[in-house]
């Protein structure tokens, strides 16, 4: 029973991850830049950009 729960959780993770890849691959063809993400907020604007990505 416990093993099946672990397997189900792993499968859910995999399906969610692969599904998300499909979405980002579909939108990446339309977007100007591909989405980059990390655990910490990303400074996606150039240092010369006056907006400073909303830093306050």
């Amino acid at each position: 029973m416990k093993n099946n729960i672990v397997r189900l959780f792993v499968l859910t993770l995999a399906v969610a991850g692969f599904g998300a890849t499909t979405v980002s691959a579909h939108t990446a063809s339309k977007a100007k830049i591909s989405a980059t993400t990390q655990d910490m907020p990303i400074p996606g604007c150039a240092p010369s950009d006056p907006s400073l990505c909303g830093l306050h």
């Binding site: 416990k2 093993n3 672990v6 397997r7 792993v10 499968l11 993770l13 995999a14 969610a16 991850g17 692969f18 998300a20 890849t21 979405v23 980002s24 939108t27 990446a28 977007a31 100007k32 830049i33 591909s34 989405a35 980059t36 993400t37 990390q38 655990d39 910490m40 907020p41 990303i42 400074p43 996606g44 604007c45 150039a46 240092p47 400073l52 990505c53 909303g54 830093l55 306050h56």
Partner: protein, 316 residues
Amino acid sequence: MHTELMLKYSEMAFIALCLGTLILMGRKRLFPEFPLLTCLLSIQAIDAVISVAILFFRKDLGIEIHRAYKIYFYSHWVAVASEEILQVLVIYSVFSLAMKPLQGLHQIGKIIFRWVAAVSVMISIAIAVGPHFAAPGYETTVAIFRVTGQIQQGIGVLTLCLLLFVCFSTKPLGLTYRSRIFGVTLGLGVVATTTLVEAAWASISAGRSLYSPIYLFGVLGMVAAVSVWTTYFALPEPERKMILLPTTSPFFFWNSISEALGDSPGHVAIAGFRPDMLAPAEMQMLSAPSTLRIEAATDFDMSAISASTLHAAASH
């Protein structure tokens, strides 16, 4: 609660968890077993400390806003590059640990892993610096975004494949769901899924600030992953099981084939061989058995002749 405040507390919780896990790993002497994971956690903790300091305590620290952004920009991108390299190495080390009992498959997996990694990096770079590179308005920042985005997604997919493999091959690998190898892979899987979902979310949302809810989701995913690692490192690990496979098992079969594939081949002279190509010592070695055989045959003939002579004399 406001997103910004939640992000602040989540990042602080993440730093605390990272430090807690590192201390736990130190106490349990797990650094030699998982050195790359230790490096990854340390870099993530340092990156998070800089992030919290710049995003939430900049005024208290008295750093000018433009300078603060520059510090964050360069430190973060260096951390991202290091983390991506370390993530690949962590995946590889976990794969090596998991495949330890099956040396043949480990060997062939290593070759495939290297090829996949090299091709993925090349494709990511090619996509990033492809035809748009010379176009006006295509800045270096955009190129960095594209490269890191592609590599991250590749790493995410690779991690999920490894997780699926370890999860459904625990028996032939001698593991259980309480093994630390599985725990580390599960944590990496949580990170990979979070990253991939976050990337999909980010691709459909326009104009992100540094305090966007997308990042809150990412930090919470990391908190979950580090919690998984902490739990697995805190709990006692069961010993690796004896691996008993049926002779018809594909693991056993492919492992035997892979082991044979790794052997260095012998060489056979097909044509153009002459006896004068051999050294005198080699000639002596090769001719020794035939000389011995001739001598043995001669001895046998002589004894046979003398026996028949004696038999004839006796009968007369």
